[in-house]
Symmetry: D2
Subunit: 265 residues, 4 copies
Amino acid sequence: LADIFDAHDAHDALCGAVPGGTIRMADYMGSDRAIIEAARQSTGGTARGWGTPESPSGDDRLLRHLLRSRHTGPFEFCEAVFEVRAPIFVARQWMRHRTQSYAEASGRYTGDMVLQPPTRTGPEGEVAPRDWAWVPPLDRFLGDPETKNKQARAAAAPNPGTVRDCQTIVENAYTEAWCAYQELVDRGVPLEVARTVLPVGTFTKFRAKANLHNWLKWLSLRNEGHAQREIRAYAVAVEDLLRRKFPRTIRTARDLGLIGSVGGE
Amino acid sequence: LADIFDAHDAHDALCGAVPGGTIRMADYMGSDRAIIEAARQSTGGTARGWGTPESPSGDDRLLRHLLRSRHTGPFEFCEAVFEVRAPIFVARQWMRHRTQSYAEASGRYTGDMVLQPPTRTGPEGEVAPRDWAWVPPLDRFLGDPETKNKQARAAAAPNPGTVRDCQTIVENAYTEAWCAYQELVDRGVPLEVARTVLPVGTFTKFRAKANLHNWLKWLSLRNEGHAQREIRAYAVAVEDLLRRKFPRTIRTARDLGLIGSVGGE
Amino acid sequence: LADIFDAHDAHDALCGAVPGGTIRMADYMGSDRAIIEAARQSTGGTARGWGTPESPSGDDRLLRHLLRSRHTGPFEFCEAVFEVRAPIFVARQWMRHRTQSYAEASGRYTGDMVLQPPTRTGPEGEVAPRDWAWVPPLDRFLGDPETKNKQARAAAAPNPGTVRDCQTIVENAYTEAWCAYQELVDRGVPLEVARTVLPVGTFTKFRAKANLHNWLKWLSLRNEGHAQREIRAYAVAVEDLLRRKFPRTIRTARDLGLIGSVGGE
Amino acid sequence: LADIFDAHDAHDALCGAVPGGTIRMADYMGSDRAIIEAARQSTGGTARGWGTPESPSGDDRLLRHLLRSRHTGPFEFCEAVFEVRAPIFVARQWMRHRTQSYAEASGRYTGDMVLQPPTRTGPEGEVAPRDWAWVPPLDRFLGDPETKNKQARAAAAPNPGTVRDCQTIVENAYTEAWCAYQELVDRGVPLEVARTVLPVGTFTKFRAKANLHNWLKWLSLRNEGHAQREIRAYAVAVEDLLRRKFPRTIRTARDLGLIGSVGGE
């Protein structure tokens, strides 16, 4: 698929919250026009062409009507597949959505293959924690100022002068876990047992596929102020990538407030 | 619900593989008879009564026919809800099934509440690793002799004399992770960030609900030789609990080989 | 199930719009309390008791919060099964909902069994059209004054003096279809072929089962001014029956406007 | 989509059983190769290339293994959309499958638009029954010699000399229904009420979309000896159309007997 793009912008947005996380669109089906065609099926009609912002056409108005009235059927005729590298705790939140198809790397089989860092960034080329797990950015220890979720704010936030210590605690814990894992594997313990010591911040890789109706629903829950900041960063990227293939749908959904606002908006 | 039972036998079976794991049936709907009634809906009939093993009735034969011909509809009219305490890696395998409803304790909110051990079993009443996480039984480090899954067998199994060392590696890794988590929480780091260091062996609690058709399908995949031993232990318990409420269905499904065999069977 | 009631009131409401249509609750699982328990699973808590309208308790407020915030998960832990007699065109609208389980009488097998009238009401005890099919009430030919759906209003409504003629046209068409069907069956034509002449107003019988979340969603679409008047009559009955088992949930959902209003409300 | 083909062969096969029925593939996503890529996600690998029948490659063997072991996940990453013209009774059987997305012409809105014949074939250019409804072919009145379904065979089949009479009974019943419908519409009765007299043999148009796993499951139930002959004709066409886009998958599924056999095979 020559026209499937790398998500440079989305990737940049992601990197601030989840250094080492990645996302790209791996496949898609349909278009804004395909939605109109599916909707017009009920009256035996077809797409008639788009208007302009100043002079919207019947198709523009139909698209707006479908979204506002939650006529979700026509959006089911479009699909998008994403390939994602994310911490296990993000994957757990993501996979609670039962309307997607998933293919995930298995910690039972792949071992080093999942954990294999894209680059070994330690001083001697060895594995550093950030190569295989999510190391929270410094400001993350202070809570999430954008969240609507009271629990996600730090009740008694750490002294800003000590956030570096917090990050070191995480990195040391990761290193301990990694060493225990390697020692178990080296002794011949099956991967599916050895992995029990790996932290939920460990990166995993998976594909997630849904139709556009379900991506919109997912965005309304995940690109939203109650969602944890890390999955919200993926949701920002998903919206950005969907916008390139379904620009009118995503723009209209946002106009109508169907995609949740981030933070205090 | 007075007649909802504790799963003593199932619990015992579970404890061998997952010490600290629990499961109980929290609710259910329907019966073997309700399946027959739903099936007879297609011809306007109703249940006519069960026969004996020696002299099966029309209802017996219909139940067998439905299962053998994969007429799954009538089994959708029965439901069962289980309440489960299981390691996160088991919960992840379980929740890949998209036909169940889930309600799970959230590590973003509950923190100690999830981790709270049923009993503090350390010498001074402190928290021991086995109070909040899955400590693999000694023989588990040697692989899984029952599995059909080559990767799950230890390629070069540890020397049996050293399995105690392996268990100690796991316990120490758990203790390190626990201390890092507590230190982060004590400094005021939000729970949703602090938990990133917790291992995938940490216990979580959830409810899982499905209709009987989907439980049978789940059993065919999870009470089966390729499934990881730990989730298989839960599947054995689920089958045992379902058998008490839907005895004819479970017995017939097993007769017909629809529920996967464990290990080399 | 001794406490499963006949839906006398609901049946009466139904009879005005769909004479000959019936609905009853055949089974259910859960309660308002079970919803609270499932919701509190995420924080490790349980139900604490209901308050009064004047002095709502924490459980009251939680129920309201769940509905308003579309936290649908906890409502999935309740179920209800309905047994329905409805025209085929209503069954077709109903079964477009893919989140329900269905068991339907089959026109391939049952033939007369489906069509068998509860009573033969013709002068000689023969079958009258209203015994096996939906005969629209007289005012129905004038359109639907309650609808929000422009197409469902009669563009140029019949002269009220001629609605009796319209009804006679329908009854005669039904009688012609019935005679053709019987003649084909009498000649030995398979039921699955003979039925091709039966009108979409023919009654069918089916069971429909869904969890409470999906019943609420169904009500929001079917007990609503754009839905066809006939399925709306069933939706009124479903809401009435659900209210008896889940009174707080249905009342709160209606308070919050989550269940669509009928007609011009 | 330039390469979406008309289903000439499939159409021919269909015409024998359902004169006037049509089917075409309207869109699709993925390929045999995409299935391998999704499957290899679990081990971090990718597609390696196909072999030949004489010398199957690892990808060939993996595809076979996935189908035989019912590892259905990877097939969910492919999609196909069909546009169908079929009698209402076929649409009802089809739409019982809850894993597809549907967009259907609505008899509430379109009226003549749905019923509009592709050509008016009566002697004076008027509408003939076969223009808007399924007229069973002559041999169909004798039952279905290919069926495994006892009820679908005519118990006491009509005398072959009288099948023409049977066909005339159907055509006359259709004409009566059509006239009643037109008279009601002419008097201003809303379309949603007038249609109640139309037979279940009336043609409707819809789009149906599913992923490849669910199409395979649909084929196993519908391209099978117990399915009614008319929907089986559509299933033959669906298999034919899918084979052009996913040739290895369809061929292997048939080799393994996963797609049901027609008739006595």
